[in-house]
């Protein structure tokens, strides 16, 4: 506690606590000074003089509106990001050139009703649309360096903030994306409220309005898929995320918001396995065979290790596609397989 009894006029004028009280900036619950004045009636004149002086020496603050502050802040932020992107861009190009580009295929089959298609983007005026009314694919380059091959009868929308505040595009129709990798800023495609998010890869999107389902399939890379309900559309609050890894496919029903995870029709080899490079197996334990397939196609294969422990495989499977391979394997070991939730589940009684 300060010794206010000894305070001179100058001291009071200088005291921040006292000043706040005089200028009405103190919490109304804080009654210290009222109490102090009552207890020290002989100081009344001094307090009056000090108060007048505090008020006399107070300033008219220049009114700074919050909008003015935030406008200034966002201008600084924009200038920062312009620079950052410029200097980072070359790194991405270099990285893209060195690292074999991961490719990813996303296929959207979109239903026919166009009634509830007015999304935030279309209402909002600052979205710019690239429209392809022709019959040829139109190549576009976005400001972050990503490229888009926009299909016939398709359109792609983005705001001025694209590449600065976010990497968010709207798509109707079909497009092939080659996305520059940026782990800090995911690239998001919104098509009829189904969001596909990638960090950097190539993929194909098809979203014409004839089909009931949106289906997204991945040959390599990693994306997440979310379905926004119509109710949430304006709040940009999408539902739970579905992660798609290579060769997986999501089928999103536009009617009931259901998402089913499955596999694409013909999964591609995304990585040559270290062992059994040509899928030549010679009395190989079945677990090793499945591991090889898992590695090659990037698809999880679930099986009962104990039950199938005694199963071995001798086969040459270089030319078959994945499902043919599985057919042959299952026939050999007296098992069956099923695609569930984007995985392959093997069921079998085991071998003697």
């Amino acid at each position: 506690m300060k010794n206010y009894d000894q305070y001179t006029l100058e001291d009071f004028v200088q005291d921040f606590y006292f000043r706040r009280w005089v200028l009405g900036k103190l919490d109304p619950k804080d009654t210290f000074w009222e109490t102090w004045c009552k207890e020290n009636p002989e100081k009344e004149l001094l307090i009056q003089e000090a108060s007048s002086m505090v008020i006399g020496l107070s300033y008219e603050p220049e009114v700074v509106k919050s909008e003015e502050i935030f406008a200034a802040i966002s201008r600084v932020q924009k200038r920062i990001h312009k620079r950052a992107l410029f200097s980072r861009k070359w790194f991405y190009y270099a990285a893209a050139a060195i690292v074999p580009t991961a490719s990813l295929l996303v296929l959207w089959l979109v239903g026919n009703s166009q009634t509830e298609e007015l999304t935030v983007a279309e209402i909002s005026s600052d979205v710019r649309w690239e429209v392809n009314e022709g019959r040829e694919v139109v190549p576009l380059t976005l400001s972050d360096g990503s490229t888009v091959q926009l299909g016939p009868g398709s359109r792609l929308g983005y705001t001025n903030g694209f590449g600065i505040t976010d990497r968010f595009v709207w798509l109707e129709g079909e497009a092939y994306f080659e996305v520059i990798k940026n782990t800090e800023s995911p690239f998001i495609v919104n098509s009829h409220n189904v969001l596909t998010k990638v960090l950097g890869t190539t993929f194909h999107v098809r979203a014409y309005s004839q089909d009931e389902n949106v289906s997204i399939s991945v040959t390599s890379g990693k994306v997440t898929v979310q379905k926004k309900t119509v109710k949430d559309a304006e709040e940009m609050d999408p539902g739970p995320e579905l992660i798609l890894t290579p060769n997986q496919q999501a089928v999103v029903s536009r009617k009931n918001d259901k998402i089913i995870k499955t596999l694409i029709e013909t999964p591609a080899i995304i990585k040559v396995p270290e062992q059994h490079r040509h899928f030549i197996f010679n009395d190989t334990p079945i677990s090793e065979v499945f591991q090889t397939l898992e590695e090659a196609y990037g698809i999880p294969i679930a099986f009962d290790d104990e039950k199938l422990a005694k199963c071995n495989l001798t086969a040459q499977l270089s030319n078959e596609d994945l499902f043919d391979k599985l057919d042959l394997i299952c026939e050999t070991i007296q098992a069956s397989y099923q695609v569930t939730d984007g995985q392959i589940v093997i069921r079998g009684a085991g071998c003697e």
């Binding site: 006029l9 100058e10 004028v13 200088q14 921040f16 000043r19 900036k25 919490d27 109304p28 003089e49 007048s52 002086m53 505090v54 008020i55 006399g56 020496l57 107070s58 300033y59 008219e60 603050p61 220049e62 700074v64 509106k65 919050s66 909008e67 003015e68 502050i69 935030f70 200034a72 802040i73 201008r75 600084v76 932020q77 200038r79 920062i80 620079r83």
Partner: protein
Amino acid sequence: MQGQRIDTNLDDLKHRRLLEEKAPQIWLSFKQGNEDAFTELMELYYPSMLNYGLRFQNDRELVKDCIQDLFLELWKSRKAVADVRAPKSYLLISLRRKLLREIGRTRWFREAPEITDDYNFEVQFAIETYLINTEIQHEDLKKLKRCLGQLTKRQREAIYLRFFHELSYEEIAETMEINRHSAVNLVYEAIRFIKNNWIYP
């Protein structure tokens, strides 16, 4: 970003005081490249900087440009920037230097080169608005206005920093590029002058 923070109400004052207590940490975080921290610094100090800047130069756009450039330079050189315990005075002094340089430059174009220390420092005391806004002009208030007008620009700047921005004497000294003793003197002389000429003439 929340838009309501800057309005001058009690909650806001409390909020700002809390933020100012955390300012040294925010500063450190900004130095490590945390952009949110940088934004917080801008939010926290922009009004003070604009207020201070306008005392030197009434051209609002020029002051705003200077503040923006200052923050941009700060972000670019964040790794080299010192650990500052009082970001506010650091920012005010940077702005002061920048503005005086800028004003000096434009003046150089308009007039003959002058000593850079020759700057204006205009403050609007609340009392002046009071006098303008009321028909009844108390003799007392007019006398106070005369007294305030007799303060030197350095006294005005010192009490402005002390009372409006609530800087410590160390910070005032730093900002005005004088020693602490001179900063204390400037404030006390001003108060004593008003006391002797207005309260007890």
